[in-house]
Structure formats: structure tokens, C-alpha cells
């Protein structure tokens, strides 16, 4: 009985955490490059809508996933060019893009007739019979396994390539990076493109992977949850993924606990990720592990 409940909760936790995981990889990249990207909510909702629209048009959920990622990329390109080429305040751009994306997706959703599609479920024969962890880990929609590859890829990109080194330099000390010949704003735009790609994929996975359809404001603040996860993880990929897993678990508990008969305040569970992130910031920021130039625009010249 307890094993069954545990498996159900774990399974839904992974299902709920997967879209956040994709977006968290992107947000992590963007923040390491020094952009506090709040348009991630817009990227996710656009990815979700485009995925369903494309899947509905082509009949293929996989093509929808791809289209969602590209839609996120477009938002990333707009954000990058507006805030790291035109030097408009990045929060202003992000905020406005969020309003625009939410309005536009709801607008088109109401005026289009979309049919739901869902990507295939993978079920690995022998392993799925392992008690407790078998079903959660080995019976999932296939993009979840894509995420398993994406996390090491992000780590490799940031920690083991020259591009990633430059990216981190740009986030820590843009003036210094500039003097050594790194094109600061180009790196930041590239990071935002990656962020858009991953977040669009996350939104697309939410729509055509986890749920199978689109409804208005379906991301419902998940993008902000991702920002909270990156902060909770103190700008380390490992911590970020841990945060995503925790937040997914909290969400799954909120849905599952009433059925099991455990009484826990649901408002507290919804607010828990945000409280955890704020607590992490209060405790962690002093140790200066935040990218030093996070949220600061870069223009050439004397500081």
C-alpha cells in the first residue's frame, strides 16, 4: 500500500518536474551569462501553445515538440536583441514579453480549433517491475529521457567548453571578459537563445508530453518556479536540478496527499517553493555565489 502510494507520488513528481527541468537548464545557462531572464514564463507558454498548434496541424506530437522549442528560441532572440543589443532594461523586456506571450497564446487559442496530441509513452520491460522506483523511472513519456541527456549536455557546455568558460566570465566580470576579447553581449544573446530553446522545449513537453492539450495560462507561473529553482540551487546545475525535483515533489504531494488522507495545508505547499527560494537567497547570497554581474547590462567603456 505504502509502496503503491509512494510510486504514484514519485511518478507524478517526475512528470510534474520534467517541464521545469528543461526550462531550468536554460535559465541556468542564461543566469550564468548574467541575464536574470524573467521572460522564461513567456517562453514556456509560447512553446506550449506552438507545440499543440503544430501537433494539431501536422498530426505529429514530435513535430509539435520541435516547433515549441523553436518558438521559445524566437522569444529568446527577441529578448536578447532587445536587452543585449538595444540595451533596454532586461526586466522591462521580460515582463512585457510575458504579458505579450500570455495574451497572444490565449488569443489564438480562443480563435483556433486545436486537437490534442501526446507523445508516446516509453515503458522499459524488466526494469519497470522494480518496486517503488520501477514505474516512476521507467514508464514515462519519451521527452523525459531526452531531459536525462540534456542535463549532462548543459553541464558539459558550461563547465567543459571554451564557450562555457567565456559564458561564465561574461556573467562574473563582463568588463574583464571584454578586455580579453570576449564579445560580452553576443555571449549573452547566445545564452538567451539556448534558454529559449530549452524553455520552449519545456513548455512543449508540458503541453504535448505531460498534459496532451493546451489551455489558457497553462504554465501558471511555472517559469517563475524555475527562476526560484535556480536561486535555490545557488546557481549550480546540481542544486538547480535538486530544486526542480523538490518543487515537483511538493506539487505531487499537494495533488496526492488528500487522496491518501494526510491533511497538509495546500496553500503552504503551493507557496513552499517560493518560500524556499527566498530563504535560500537570504542565506546564500552573502556567500557571493551569485554571478557577480547578474542582471547588470553591459555597455562598453569606463564603469
Amino acid at each position: 500500500m505504502i509502496l503503491d502510494d509512494g510510486a504514484t507520488i514519485l511518478s507524478s513528481a517526475i512528470r510534474l518536474a520534467a517541464p521545469l527541468g528543461f526550462a531550468a537548464c536554460g535559465e541556468y545557462l542564461a543566469e550564468r551569462a548574467g541575464t536574470m531572464n524573467i521572460s522564461i514564463e513567456g517562453m514556456m507558454i509560447t512553446g506550449a501553445f506552438t507545440a499543440v498548434a503544430a501537433a494539431s496541424a501536422t498530426g505529429s506530437a514530435t513535430l509539435g515538440l520541435l516547433a515549441g522549442a523553436i518558438a521559445g528560441l524566437v522569444i529568446g532572440a527577441v529578448h536578447g536583441n532587445a536587452s543585449h543589443r538595444l540595451a533596454v532594461n532586461t526586466f522591462v523586456v521580460g515582463l512585457t514579453l510575458n504579458v505579450l506571450a500570455l495574451g497572444a497564446t490565449s488569443f489564438f487559442n480562443e480563435s483556433m480549433d486545436l486537437t490534442g496530441h501526446q507523445v508516446a509513452q516509453v515503458s522499459i520491460p524488466v526494469l519497470r517491475d522494480i518496486p517503488l522506483v520501477g514505474e516512476p523511472l521507467f514508464v514515462q513519456r519519451w521527452p523525459v529521457y531526452l531531459l536525462l541527456g540534456l542535463i549532462p549536455l548543459t553541464w558539459y557546455l558550461v563547465e567543459r567548453t571554451r564557450w562555457g568558460l567565456e559564458l561564465r566570465a561574461v556573467g562574473e566580470n563582463p568588463q574583464g571578459a571584454d578586455v580579453t576579447g570576449i564579445r560580452v553581449n553576443i555571449r549573452r544573446r547566445q545564452a538567451l537563445l539556448w534558454c529559449g530553446l530549452f524553455s520552449g522545449l519545456g513548455g512543449a513537453h508540458l503541453a504535448v508530453g505531460a498534459v496532451g492539450s493546451f489551455n489558457d495560462n497553462m504554465t501558471a507561473g511555472r517559469g517563475y518556479l524555475v527562476i526560484a529553482a535556480v536561486i535555490f540551487g545557488a546557481w549550480r546545475l546540481r542544486g538547480t536540478i535538486l530544486g526542480v525535483a523538490l518543487f515537483g515533489l511538493a506539487d505531487a504531494m499537494r495533488l496526492a496527499l488528500p487522496a491518501v488522507g494526510v491533511k497538509l495545508n495546500s496553500q503552504l505547499l503551493i507557496a513552499a517553493p517560493y518560500l524556499l527560494a527566498l530563504a535560500a537567497m537570504v542565506l546564500v547570497v552573502r556567500r557571493t555565489r551569485q554571478p557577480a554581474a547578474l542582471g547588470k547590462p553591459f555597455t562598453r567603456g569606463i564603469v
Binding site: 540595451a87 522591462v92 515582463l95 504579458v99 495574451g103 488569443f107 564579445r183 507557496a271
Partner: protein
């Protein structure tokens, strides 16, 4: 005032405040109103480009209407009818514009101090909750209770905004992120408060389902209105909002406090050296911004919804922030902007009858923000690429005497290479003061054309 620091010479408002004289010539007033940006572009150019971008934003909106099969002209006229066409519609516009203006004025205060508060939605909710608690639990003369309700709403918002302020100035936590995250905590807090009978949930009436909302305020404790429905009705809140906008504008432009606040926003380092305490002024600006949002929540509570509901903030916080962005952090410019946004909101209510989704107004609002935010940046980019255009290939003597550079005639005799002239020729070519003096030789070649 003993503050004497080198200040941005192109900021007209600072100049006026420093000289202590009247607001200055029409030109300076126009500059202050049109372009309180730091791009240094001429206000006329900004205005011209803004007209173009606004036209583009409206064009895109019309295109969207056409895409979904509506008639742009019909949609426009029905929105006009639904927002200003009848006295009743205009009353609705005023009602919607009031909280937007209050939130926007608060955003102006914090943004001018260099603190970007985006948690207005949450501050509104907390303000409304505190206001509802006071309004429902207090007995007394209506005027006193109403005033107390509004004041406590403002206090509630201020306290909620003071938490990020403390986190910022005690622990160095970024304000944007903390205010953003606290919106979601506020939402859950309000939904908790209205789900507990011992707090604010409505009293149970036998045979009815108890909704997650508070009891309604007594009619005498609501904001009074001038005029009678279906004629033009103006809530007292509208006068309050406009009055506060004027007070804040005057304080920002003319008072010592406003000057220090703006100094902090322009150049925190210089402000610190001049004796402006960052924690005091920045924290106060953030709390004030929260107070305005909380007051907006109180006005929505006592003038529109009359009871506490989790969804009562209805995006007023986000939209008010957009109003401040369009008004470029000028409280006076926020008044007409809030009216336009209020008209969009009330006009959006009638969109359903034309078959166009009401979400159109969200798109229009966001596009309008871009239309007002982008022009100064576009002009600055255009100027910088014009400045940094590399010399023609094979010709290093690009500062030949007699050549016109940016409208100025280069005079002879300045050692033709044009990099270390350190005088008129150098300035004429590069205008090095505009973006700092970092025009190194290497830098020019490497990233000269684009940033």
C-alpha cells in the same frame, strides 16, 4: 542644499532642481516630459520614432484582428463605444484607470530611485486583505472607517514591500526576484485567509455554499461616488489617485527628498559620496511603492469589488507597472496613460460581442509598452553604430580638415590619425563623452560595428 557633485549634464530635471529656479523654459519642460531617458537623444527624434512605433503596434493589433476574421474598424469603434462612448462606459474606464494610476505612481517612485519593484500584484492583494480586515472588523463613523481602511491598505502594502527592502539592504538579495517571488506567496496567503472562518471567510448562510471570499463591506463603508448611474459616475478614488500623482510629481521634481531619490537612481556611487543613505532612501522608495500598490488594493476593495477575493487584483498590478513603463516613470504622464489603459480594459469587455477574443487588449498593451520603451534605445543604438562606423578601408586619415563629421566641421591641424587628438577633432568624430571614453584602438576593431 549642500550637495555638489558632478552630475549628468544632460538631465534637465536635475539641472532644474540644482539651480532651484522655476521649472525652466518650455523647452526644458518638454524635454523632461518627452524624454527622461539617459540616451541623450533629442526629444524630437524620440517623439518621431515613438509615433512610428505606436503606429506599428496599432497596425499589428489590427492585423491580428484581421487574422482571426474580425473587421479592425468595427472592433475599434466598438471598443471606443465600450470605453468612452457613453457616460456609463466612461465611468467604467475611470474605475479601471484608478488602481492602474495608483500602482503606476508607486512604480515611478521606486524606479526613479533605481529600485525596480515588480511585485505590485502581491502588494495590492496584501493591502486589500489588511483593508478588508479593518473594514469588516471596525465600527464607527463611515468617514473614519473608510479612511482607516484605505490607510491600513497602504500600510499593508508598504509592509509587504518592506520585506524585500530589508532583504535587499541587509542581505543583498536582488529586489526584482524577491518582489516577484513574493507575489505568489501573497496569492497563497490571501487564498488561505479567505478559506478560514476565523480569519476572513464569509459567514455561513444555511442552504448556501461558502465561497472562498470575505463578507461584503457595509454600504456606508464603501468609497462614495459623484453622479448617478447611468450618468457619469466618478469614484472618490479617481480624485485621490490624480491628487497623489500630482503630489508625487511635485515632490520628485522639487523637493530635496525627490532630488536625493533621483540622484540615487541615476548614480548610486555619487549619491553615496554625497551623503545619500542608500538603505534609507532605496528602502523607503520600495516601501512607498508598496504603499501605493496597497492603496490601489484598498481602492479596488472599497470602490469596485467590495469584498476580498483571491482574484480581485485582476492584473491591476502588472498592468499598472506597464503604465509606468509607458509613462517613462513620470507620474504626470502616467495620468493619461492610465486612462488609455483603463479604456483598453473597459473596451476589452465589449470585445466578445465582435467575435474577437478579449485577450487582444493584453497584446495591445504589451505592444504599446514596446512602442514606448524601444525608441530611445533604437536611437541610441543608431547613434552608436554611426559613431563607431570604421574608417573607409585604406584611409587612415579619416579626419581630414574640412570634412564634416556629425554636422561639425573638422578644423585642420590636428595630426590626422584622429585617435589621440584629445581635442575638438576627437570629440567631433567620436563624441567620446556620450558612452564613456573607452574607445580604445583594439576595441574599435573588435566589436566596432555592433555591440
Amino acid at each position: 542644499m549642500s550637495v555638489q557633485i558632478p552630475f549628468r549634464p544632460k538631465d534637465p530635471a536635475a539641472g532644474a532642481a540644482r539651480s532651484g529656479g522655476p521649472l525652466g523654459s518650455v523647452d526644458r519642460a518638454a524635454r523632461a516630459l518627452l524624454a527622461p531617458t539617459r540616451s541623450g537623444s533629442s526629444p524630437l527624434a524620440v517623439a518621431v520614432v515613438t509615433v512610428l512605433t505606436v503606429a506599428a503596434a496599432l497596425g499589428i493589433t489590427a492585423g491580428l484582428v484581421a487574422i482571426v476574421g474580425g473587421a479592425p474598424g468595427e472592433v475599434f469603434s466598438s471598443m471606443l463605444d465600450g470605453s468612452v462612448g457613453t457616460p456609463g462606459a466612461f465611468s467604467q474606464t475611470l474605475l479601471e484607470a484608478t488602481p492602474l494610476l495608483l500602482v503606476a505612481v508607486g512604480s515611478c517612485v521606486s524606479s526613479r530611485a533605481g529600485v525596480f519593484n515588480i511585485g505590485q500584484e502581491g502588494q495590492m492583494l496584501i493591502g486589500a486583505s489588511v483593508g478588508a480586515y479593518v473594514g469588516l472588523r471596525t465600527q464607527g463613523p463611515p468617514a473614519v472607517v473608510l479612511t482607516l481602511t484605505l490607510v491600513c491598505s497602504a500600510l499593508g502594502g508598504a509592509l509587504w514591500a518592506a520585506i524585500p527592502a530589508v532583504m535587499r539592504y541587509r542581505r543583498g538579495v536582488d529586489v526584482v526576484v524577491s518582489t516577484l517571488l513574493m507575489i505568489f506567496i501573497a496569492e497563497q496567503l490571501v487564498s488561505f485567509v479567505v478559506s478560514k472562518p476565523w480569519l476572513l471567510q464569509e459567514t455561513r448562510v444555511s442552504g448556501q455554499i461558502v465561497a472562498p471570499q470575505s463578507n461584503a463591506l457595509a454600504p456606508s463603508f464603501r468609497l462614495p461616488t459623484l453622479g448617478d448611474y447611468p450618468g457619469l459616475t466618478i469614484s472618490l478614488g479617481a480624485f485621490l489617485a490624480v491628487g497623489l500623482a500630482i503630489v508625487v510629481a511635485v515632490l520628485l521634481a522639487r523637493s530635496r527628498w525627490g532630488f536625493r531619490l533621483r540622484m540615487l537612481g541615476h548614480n548610486p556611487l555619487a549619491a553615496r559620496h554625497a551623503g545619500v543613505r542608500e538603505a534609507t532612501f532605496g528602502g523607503l522608495a520600495l516601501a512607498l511603492s508598496g504603499a501605493f500598490s496597497g492603496l490601489a488594493g484598498g481602492v479596488v476593495l472599497t470602490g469596485e469589488v467590495y469584498r476580498l477575493q483571491p482574484g480581485m487584483s485582476d492584473n491591476y498590478g502588472w498592468d499598472g507597472l506597464l503604465v509606468a513603463l509607458v509613462a517613462r516613470d513620470n507620474p504626470i504622464a502616467a495620468v493619461p496613460t492610465a486612462l488609455v489603459f483603463g479604456a483598453l480594459r473597459s473596451g476589452g469587455g465589449v470585445l466578445a460581442s465582435t467575435g474577437v477574443p478579449a485577450y487582444l487588449i493584453d497584446i495591445t498593451q504589451a505592444l504599446l509598452v514596446f512602442a514606448f520603451v524601444l525608441p530611445p534605445a533604437l536611437l541610441a543604438l543608431w547613434r552608436s553604430t554611426a559613431d563607431r562606423r570604421p574608417p573607409p578601408p585604406g584611409r587612415h586619415l579619416h579626419l581630414r580638415p574640412g570634412r564634416r563629421v556629425r554636422g561639425r566641421r573638422v578644423t585642420g591641424g590636428h595630426g590626422g590619425r584622429g585617435t589621440h587628438g584629445a581635442n575638438g577633432a576627437y570629440r567631433a568624430y567620436g563624441e567620446c563623452g556620450a558612452r564613456g571614453a573607452g574607445r580604445g584602438e583594439r576595441g574599435d576593431r573588435r566589436e566596432g560595428q555592433r555591440r
